[in-house]
Amino acid sequence: MKNKNNLDPEKAEKLLFQMLLMRKFEEKSAELYTKEKIRGFLHLYIGEEAVATGIIQALKPEDYILATYREHAHALARGVDAGVIMAEMYGKQEGCSRGRGGSMHLFDKEKNFFGGNAIVSGHLPLATGMALASKKLKRDNITVCFFGEGAAAEGEFHEALNLASLWKVPVLFVCENNLYAMGTALRYTHAVQEIEKKGPAYGIESKAVDGMDLLKLMEAANKAVEQVRSSGEPYLLVCNTYRFRAHSMFDAELYRDKTEVEKWKKRDPIPKFRKYLLKENLISEAKVQELEKRLNTEIQKAVDLAEAGTWEAKEELTRFVYSENPVS
């Protein structure tokens, strides 16, 4: 039985669990980073969980997903196992990229999860090209490409959107506008700050949505995905959101006020969604407690898997520079 937002208890539980898992997983990651279990760059998505959750719930398994270096949540939403992601962040060969990628480069081809890209905006042209392949091969999957508002200032944004529109290929561009590109606020990045106003310059339908509200996001995502799938044409969805944490673990956050952060934290998408579900009787308090417990087990399992993981032998260093079976 679905409510007016198209939610039934099963889906409601699944989504809440997913967001809780993202949050907890990243809190744990931050902790493990300070313990030097995880190294390199670590970019947390905390505060933005509704975006990945809302968009990815609208997709089919055969749809392609590309994301940035801030992609743990996207991988989790896509169903990549938390343990395999954690192992990747440890650099263990049990990780989803064999440990070679680390936090910024999660890949899972079977799940159609294409990274994990750390050159800002570098994956936008790839997304256009993957959608072009779908069109040429007459597949009915779509491609979804996540990127930040900072990325939209890069030339590749311009090129990728123009090409997608000219070619009429099924790609959904999802701009995660969290107001900052590292320490550079939106107003210093774009002369026109409403990113959705850039779509029309390419003839691409564009819409902005509250990125802190899972329900609104689901509605917008369902509509956008449906439209891309049926029309075969690109769409730009701008999700206005906020990251509660620093840009990465190397960030003193000199560029913004604590009060601004606190203000946004009041709009935390997770309690908001939980409250809504409780109010609508889509979930019970008891169930919520059970979820929390399951969550802890899941996180513990993930860490255990990562801890038990093994290091790739040094001798394998030069593997995969070229294909091992040079047959195409």
């Binding site: 890949f107 570098g122 040429k136 030339g155 311009h158 995969f320 070229y322």
Partner: protein, 328 residues
């Protein structure tokens, strides 16, 4: 032995592209002006009429975008031939080529193949001045994960594309603008050529002239003239600039005990530097004289013919350099 036929380098390239399009539906050609214009240098003339818009795609000026899209399309199962009209515009998509095409396989722990072929016309010789006369093979040859080949003969112009398309990894093909109108004889049933091995184009015993690209015919011509002076030069066409076929030239130098390296690219940090260093490392005790290099002048290429000609090694320069090594 089969019959010979006369063919221009341009016709040979075109025959290779046409065959690829006929052989495999997943192959398509995309680039600026490849279709309606007929190709900037008429290489793809009439292919649009034969294969249609889906297979021969004109793209807007947006090198990073469409090369990235080609990479994306190859990730999703297509076999794109992406033409970057000339290497002079090849720095614009270089981030795509290096950080995506060359990197994804390794970074994903072996999951993601990028079977894209990128063709670029290059080189000096048409008085096109500083921004349009680049020889940037060395820049690409520095990048692991790429296969970089140089089309120095008509045989390879006809036969390399097929082999490149069979490769599961990204292949960069350098073709030479100034050779397009050049005629030569090739086997009437000339087939596919190797992209993993260098080739001895002329056997000789006194010195090894090691080169690629435009240098091949120049070196052969010089060798002919030298033979009239009693000098028997071996000419090696490197063909694949990454990974280098070291065995081939080390074997040659171990036989001739002398080497001259010839290329048109700027003289420092180029392919010849690498070849010289490898001879140093692997055949030092075989050498009867130091290995010498003839490279391009380290200047942005000037427009006037006499200065253009002075910018790269000519047949006489090769001849003189050989004589100087052999008869100091």
């Amino acid at each position: 032995m089969s019959e010979l036929k006369k063919i221009t380098y341009r016709e040979a390239l075109k025959a290779g592209i046409r065959e690829a399009l006929l052989n495999d539906d997943r192959v398509f050609l995309m680039g600026e002006d490849v279709g309606r214009y007929g190709g900037a240098f008429a290489v793809s003339k009439s292919l649009l009429e034969e294969f249609g818009e889906d297979r021969i795609m004109d793209v807007p000026l947006s090198e990073s975008g469409f090369v990235g899209a080609g990479i994306g399309a190859s990730l999703a199962g297509m076999k794109p031939i992406v033409e970057v009209m000339t290497v002079n515009f090849g720095l614009l998509p270089m981030d795509q080529i290096v950080n995506n095409a060359a990197t994804l396989l390794h970074m994903s722990g072996g999951q993601l193949n990028v079977p894209v072929v990128i063709r670029m016309s290059c080189g000096i010789g048409k008085q096109l001045a500083a921004q349009h006369s680049h020889s940037w093979e060395p820049l690409f040859a520095h990048i692991p994960g790429l296969v970089v080949v140089s089309v120095g003969t008509h045989e390879d112009a006809r036969g390399m594309l097929h082999t490149a398309l069979e490769h599961p990894d990204p292949v960069i093909i350098f073709e030479y603008t100034s050779m397009l109108n050049l005629e030569a004889e090739i086997q009437i049933d000339a087939g596919h050529t190797d992209i993993s091995r260098a080739k001895v184009r002329r056997e000789g015993k006194d010195i090894s002239i090691i080169t690629y690209g435009i240098g091949v015919y120049k070196a052969l011509e010089a060798a002919k003239r030298l033979s009239e002076q009693g000098i028997d030069a071996e000419v090696i066409d490197l063909r694949v600039l990454r990974p280098l076929d070291e065995d081939c030239f080390i074997k040659s130098v171990s036989k001739t005990h002398r080497a001259l390296l010839v290329e048109e690219a700027w003289a420092s940090v180029n392919i010849s530097s690498e070849v010289s260093a490898r001879i140093m490392e692997n055949a030092f005790y075989e050498l009867d004289a130091p290995v010498k290099r003839l490279g391009g002048s380290e200047v942005p290429i000037p427009y006037p013919l006499h200065l253009e000609n002075a910018s790269v090694p000519q047949v006489e320069d090769i001849e003189n350099a050989v004589i100087k090594i052999l008869r100091p």
